[in-house]
């Protein structure tokens, strides 16, 4: 099935399919609405738990406002739901902890992810947030493939990796942003350790 034919439908663009299947309505942070089948929702652990907890009936879906996903935009959410519809009913992979992990990118997913790196970045955040295991796998695989055959210097550029100095500065900034009282306690503790005391009390 091509990306274009995936059964994700913007409400204002096409007719709502009349089926017995349950469809849920979601709204992105830029107010785009999507209808997504119950089976497709199961690919997202987060959304699946959410709709289970809400206990919506078909009537509720129509009468109540669309479920707002406030931190994902319409363009990203469209990709997410296209992916979920295409892969609905498929088993969710279980991480066996093996390294390197073996993940193949199917043709549909490759076409779906033929996007600029900005959108790919948002897609990974969304897949992680919505806990869509296989979408996270394939999108991360695409990012992992960017490393192929690169020197360390090239990898630093490709992945915008901070230098040691930048990492140090970030660490210091994070420490400084800590609660001042916690920092005082920490400093006092360090001071006592230097003086040879074992206990704080």
């Amino acid at each position: 099935m091509s990306v274009e034919n995936a059964p994700v439908v913007d409400v204002d663009e096409a007719a709502i399919p009349v089926e017995k299947k349950m469809y849920y309505r979601f709204e992105s942070n830029d107010k785009k609405e999507f209808r997504v089948s119950e089976l497709a929702i199961q690919q997202s652990e987060t959304l699946n738990r959410l709709v289970e907890a809400m206990g919506y009936t078909s009537e509720d879906v129509e009468n109540k406002p669309a479920i707002a996903i406030e931190n994902i935009d319409g363009k990203t959410l469209k990709l997410v739901f296209q992916w979920c519809e295409h892969h609905k009913g498929e088993a969710i992979p279980v991480d066996d902890g093996s390294v390197p992990k073996i993940v193949e990118i199917p043709e549909f997913d490759a076409k779906l992810m033929d996007i600029d790196n900005g959108l790919l970045f948002k897609l990974i955040w969304a897949a992680d947030y919505l806990n869509i295991v296989q979408l996270l796998n394939v999108s991360c695989k695409k990012v992992a493939n960017m490393a192929q055959g690169k020197t360390p210097a090239q990898l630093r550029r490709v992945y915008l990796l901070p230098s040691d100095e930048e990492d140090e500065a970030a660490k210091r900034a994070a420490q400084e942003a800590q609660d001042p009282r916690a920092r005082e306690v920490e400093e006092e503790f360090e001071e006592r350790k230097r003086q040879g005391g074992n206990s704080f009390f």
Binding site: I69, V99, L136, N137, V143, G149, K150, T151, D164
Partner: protein, 372 residues
């Protein structure tokens, strides 16, 4: 739209999707800029779980390369718990570091350095560039040339020893006639603090170089030599090598080795590829082994220039013949491979303490395989 695309995730105060009992975790507030026209991707701005996922999905060779990017990336790759089967250092026109990842020896990451000019007592200078190539079976997986790396050979080697949590250099191998003895101290400085399992001096290495290397590297458990580099009158220098309590030693052209040197050796496995030892020498070796000589020996192999006479070798030795239809097989592990020897037709001998061994004589080959 400008060429720089701003990407922003909103801080989500409470996201309950209209359901008061359900709350999604919060996103952190951040701004990043990605230029869609470039191939860059801000990996470290992803959630920690996704960064780990990306890392786990890289080929092992790319993981190693990524570990070289910063202290932080080194720590991340180390946390993956990757392991190498062997790490080898090859000294030739270039210095090569070979990291093997499986038992076949066909899955490896090879890095090489031009050592260029060096001073005999100093560390190698930082190379202009580092070349790396990785193979998996017969497929070249990756290849790069890193200019301006600003990393020394010692630093590079110790980096991977640390990342892969490897404890030693499995093979230090000199194999080019053009390397001269001045290189030994710089190589020792590279390897300082690391245990060497095997020292190899092969191919067209000169006798002068072999002598220096054998007398400079004192601690190793195994070695293989192309030929004995000492003259017959240098018995004392040669004997020092035989008294090293090695686990394994292989000499391809051991012409000058005498039975006395074999008897003072306390090696566990000895392999002499073309020796001028005689049947009488082997007979003495067996008789003395029965009396308790070479107590650590588990495997002895020698080939000669001539067909061996079993009667002379076993003369005066109490042994029992293993029937020809016997299916007993001895399996010996060599590095990462296994070698099988059929014991049928061999002769079983017994040492004074009850330990038994099988003597296998086949044309010009002579083997002692101790039952353990």
């Amino acid at each position: 739209m400008s060429s720089r695309m701003s990407l922003k995730f909103e801080l989500l105060s409470v996201c309950n999707f209209g359901c008061p009992d359900f709350q999604l975790p919060r996103f952190s507030l951040f701004f990043i800029c990605i230029n869609p026209k470039t191939m860059s991707f801000p990996l470290h701005k992803l959630p920690a779980s996704a960064i780990l996922q990306v890392l786990q999905l890289m080929d092992i060779y790319d993981q190693l390369t990524y570990s070289l990017c910063s202290k932080n990336t080194k720590k991340m790759v180390k946390s993956l718990g990757l392991r190498a089967t062997t790490i080898q250092v090859h000294v030739q026109k270039k210095i090569g570091i070979c990291i093997n990842f499986d038992n076949s020896n066909y899955n490896f990451f090879w890095s090489s350095f031009e050592h260029g000019y060096y001073f005999p007592d100093e560390e190698f200078r930082i190379p202009w560039y580092i070349e790396a190539v990785a193979w998996n079976n017969v497929k070249k997986e990756t290849e790069w040339k890193w200019y301006g790396a600003n990393i020394g050979i010692r630093e590079y080697l110790h980096h991977f020893i640390d990342v892969l949590q490897h404890t030693r250099i499995d093979d230090l191998n000199f194999n080019d006639e053009l390397v001269n003895a001045d290189i030994i101290v710089p190589v020792q400085k590279v390897l300082k603090g690391l245990q060497i399992l095997e020292l190899g001096l092969v191919n067209s290495i000169t006798n002068e170089f072999s002598r220096s290397a054998l007398e400079s590297f004192h601690y190793y458990d195994e070695f293989y030599l192309e030929r004995i580099p000492f003259e017959r009158h240098e018995v004392g220098r040669m004997n020092k090598i035989f008294m090293k309590n090695l686990w394994w030693g292989l000499v391809s052209e051991p012409g000058k080795i005498t039975i006395d040197q074999l008897l003072i050796s306390n090696w566990v496995e000895i392999q002499l590829n073309i020796t001028d030892l005689t049947e009488k020498d082997f007979n003495i070796l067996l008789k003395l082994w029965i009396k308790g000589s070479s107590p650590r020996l588990t495997y002895f192999y020698a080939t000669t220039f001539h067909l061996l006479d079993q009667k002379i070798i076993l003369k005066g030795i109490n042994c029992s013949q293993i029937p020809l239809d016997n299916e007993e097989v001895h399996i010996r592990k060599i590095d990462v491979h296994y070698q099988e020897t059929t014991l049928a037709g061999g002769s079983r001998i017994k040492r004074f303490d009850g330990t038994t061994a099988v003597v296998v004589i086949d044309e010009a080959e002579f083997k002692i395989i101790v039952d353990i």
